[in-house]
């Protein structure tokens, strides 16, 4: 058996449609997940009370259970429990949004808490108003420090989105397996999909490595 590029020729538009679905779902989950992450992060930073405890549990829970389990649960249990009708794609967005919210909340919290104590001491001792402390002293450097972590998580999210093929969302992997089943050209389609993912993810990984390398260099000096 050899690799037969002709097998791809007729059907590659479907793969690109799958790519668009992947990107669309990832985009929506980032938007909804980001909103959730800010609420969860505030909850965890607030330090005590019921909101704190629930936020900690939600963050731990959705960071610990496997993404497939989350996706299956949202797809097959949520509609039953609430008597809803949800398409596979909507289920996917809901599941990935929860995944994003929990993980990004943790990145935000860690980034904010890594603020140098001296910066806070100086800001306090000048009597700087609290809003200014957040807006000018805590958040800008914290967000810059977090950028590699965000990008790293984006690579995880892109990889996790492939799991939506298991509930029948017509993203890249789903298209590849369907085309594979039809034509038996598994080798060609699965390889093509692997290449597409690699092209999406590898540049992001390179950036993360570059940024983290710069960071360790700064620490060791």
């Amino acid at each position: 058996m050899t690799f037969d590029l002709n097998a791809l020729q007729a059907d590659y538009p479907l793969l690109f449609e799958g790519l668009l679905v992947t990107l669309r779902i990832v985009g929506y989950s980032i938007v909804f997940g980001a909103i959730g992450s800010v609420v969860l992060c505030m909850g965890k930073l607030s330090g005590k009370g019921p909101g704190y405890r629930v936020a900690v549990f939600i963050i731990d829970f959705f960071r610990t259970i496997p993404e497939v389990v989350l996706i299956f649960w949202v797809y097959s249990c949520l509609p039953l429990l609430f008597g809803l009708r949800m398409s596979a794609e909507v289920s996917g967005v809901v599941a990935l949004s929860l995944f994003v919210a929990a993980n990004v909340a943790e990145i935000l919290r860690a980034g904010i808490l890594s603020t140098d104590r001296g910066q806070l001491e100086a800001a306090f001792s000048l009597g700087t108003p609290v809003t200014t402390i957040w807006r000018r002293i805590v958040l800008p450097p914290a967000l810059r420090r977090m950028l590699p972590n965000f990008v790293n998580f984006l690579t995880e999210l892109l990889k996790a989105s492939s799991l939506l093929s298991t509930i029948g969302v017509a993203e890249m992997v789903y298209q590849a397996t369907v085309l594979g089943n039809e034509t038996f050209a598994y080798l060609e389609f699965l390889t093509a999909v692997a290449v597409l993912y690699f092209l999406l993810i590898f540049p992001l990984s390179l950036y993360v490595r570059y940024a983290e390398g710069r960071h360790t260099k700064r620490i060791s000096r």
Binding site: E121, F124, S125, L126, G127, T128, P129, R136, P141
Partner: protein, 248 residues
Amino acid sequence: MTLNAGSEVIRCTDVVKRFGDFLALDHVSTSVHAGEVVCVIGPSGSGKSTLLRTMNGLETIDSGEIDILNHRLPGPRRELETIRRRVGMVFQNFNLFNHMSVRDNLVLAPMSARKTPRAEADASAEKLLARVGIAEQIDKYPAQLSGGQQQRVAIARALAMQPEIMLFDEPTSALDPEMVNEVLDVMRDLARAGMTMVVVTHEMGFAREVGDRILFMADGQLLVDAPPETFFTAPSDERQKTFLSKVL
């Protein structure tokens, strides 16, 4: 705003501070008057920095009383903020805002806390930087400056709030030896201009020359409170003698 010369601006009464089992401040009582320069010296771990940090509420206390500019600490949050605006602090590690230019370091607090207009804050920043001798560095970032220059920016930043009291927490300890003097010169000028200063320091020469009073601390206790001449020439306490024999 000027203070009546000689009026009491800081009073600490029976201040106790614990870190877990460690007694950092052991019933410390003292006071500082307007216009005075008080130098706090002692071995490391003696509680001198902790004492200084209680004076603007960066460190809370376990018992005792602290009154700054006629306000009891810790008061309500708003009051604490107001007190801190009237008390400047300079840190061992400068604690400049590294992501901001020197100018922004100086204008941030006046513009946000005092609602000083931009132009006025800028002009005052330029004047202060000229006063500490680094007017030409105004548009640089802290990382582009030497340690001595950074510490002078930090002093100027504290002065930008026009404080009535300045607290210095080992301001020259993190500096290379050749940069110590440029910072001490700025502090000397401040003292001459009549600023009320509390200085935690290891610079015995500076303490002797500029200080009105020397406080000696060891093991969380305030052991000696004396004028420099008496302090250095006629030590009264055993631990003070041991300490002086090591540093002089």
